[in-house]
Subunit: 216 residues, 2 copies
């Protein structure tokens, strides 16, 4: 299976490329293809250092969409709408949203768009034959990149299509020690996204780093 990562040179995108490319063909996209190529080289080197084979190629964001069976939108919320307006070709794709709309005052808080969640906004911007799944929302960027450490977290997955949800849950369960949980339809993604500012607050007010979540 080919997984395209839009924004694959950002912090979370690069971390996801590191974690997914040992298991899947990962197509790293970027606004600048040369940056994507550089990121792939860095990932290959890091993985080779651990003796881990991988499949990575660096391309434009549009080619990451075109070539991916599954497309991950690894971009900050504020860049999602402008980026999606420049891209096409999402027909029949499974689109994973790890995106969380968060604002910050003296604390972090959930600031969803009028659609109710980033996931629902993304669905409204894509063609009807694209299937949006919320997943990987609550994992800190730093954790993705520390490939010598296991990711031992729960991952809530929201999606309206049972087959696409199953595909995404299998991808989740193939990454480190992540465990996928069905968290209902896409409309329930707001409750998954809003866990992230809660975790940021827990980190901030208890002097902890990169807090994650487990459902027990």
């Amino acid at each position: 299976m080919k997984i395209g990562i839009v924004g694959g040179t950002g912090e979370i995108g690069e971390g996801m490329a590191l974690r997914l490319s040992p298991k899947y063909d990962v197509i790293v996209g970027s606004r600048e293809e040369t940056k994507a190529v550089t990121t792939c080289e860095a990932c290959r080197e890091a993985l080779a250092g651990q003796g881990i084979p991988c499949s990575l190629s660096g391309v434009s964001n549009q080619r990451a969409v075109d070539e991916g069976d599954v497309v991950v939108l690894a971009i900050p919320f504020k860049h999602v709408a402008p980026t999606l307006k420049t891209l096409g070709g999402f027909e029949d794709k499974i689109v994973i949203s790890p995106v969380n709309p968060i604002e910050r005052e003296t604390y972090f808080y959930y600031a969803p768009p009028p659609e109710g969640s980033a996931a629902m906004m993304i669905r409204s911007m894509l063609p009807e034959t694209a299937t949006v799944c919320a997943a990987f929302n609550n994992i800190a960027a730093n954790r993705w990149k520390k490939i010598d450490e296991e990711l031992d977290y729960s991952v809530a997955v929201c999606c309206d299509d049972a087959a696409a949800k199953q595909t995404v849950m299998e991808i989740v369960n193939n990454v480190s020690h992540l465990r996928a949980y069905d968290a209902g339809p896409l409309a329930a993604a707001s409750m998954v996204e809003s866990v992230t500012p809660l975790l940021l607050n827990i980190g901030r007010f208890n002097r902890m780093r990169d807090v994650g979540v487990r459902f027990v």
Copy 2:
């Protein structure tokens, strides 16, 4: 320290009485004092069966407020506003809200009041000298009552007053294996409350019971 439980004969209220009365003087309140007395007897028996001494008394909801240094509002969200309108005497009290405004369609979702959260609504209904803390929001009622099982969860605590927050976090840390985390000001409680419908969805869609949460 005396802890008054408004709604102490409900499912969560009774469970909290069971878990708190071995460590604190617990004043169980109810709309009907006789029900509170009966609940206390049942709790005493259950705890005696495990050889655990406790301090419990059954009274009216108003007396639970009057006698408690800390008052827990162990009532369903829809009953909170009507109940608070019948009660007074909250001046200078620490008021714990474990309340979660949740609605259900084919899935559970967070349905906060205009104030942004149950905790913020409760604050708006109480005198200024009362200090509201959100805590114990994400623990299933069934788990509270199974006193032969440890509660091994994380508990996010939101409050605007540092001393009151410390008091509530100490109470949390005195219950079974619960671990309290500072989750910021009361305005951040919406993100704590909305974890509960997420956990209900995880339970429902993965055939799990009484799902809880750990921050790791």
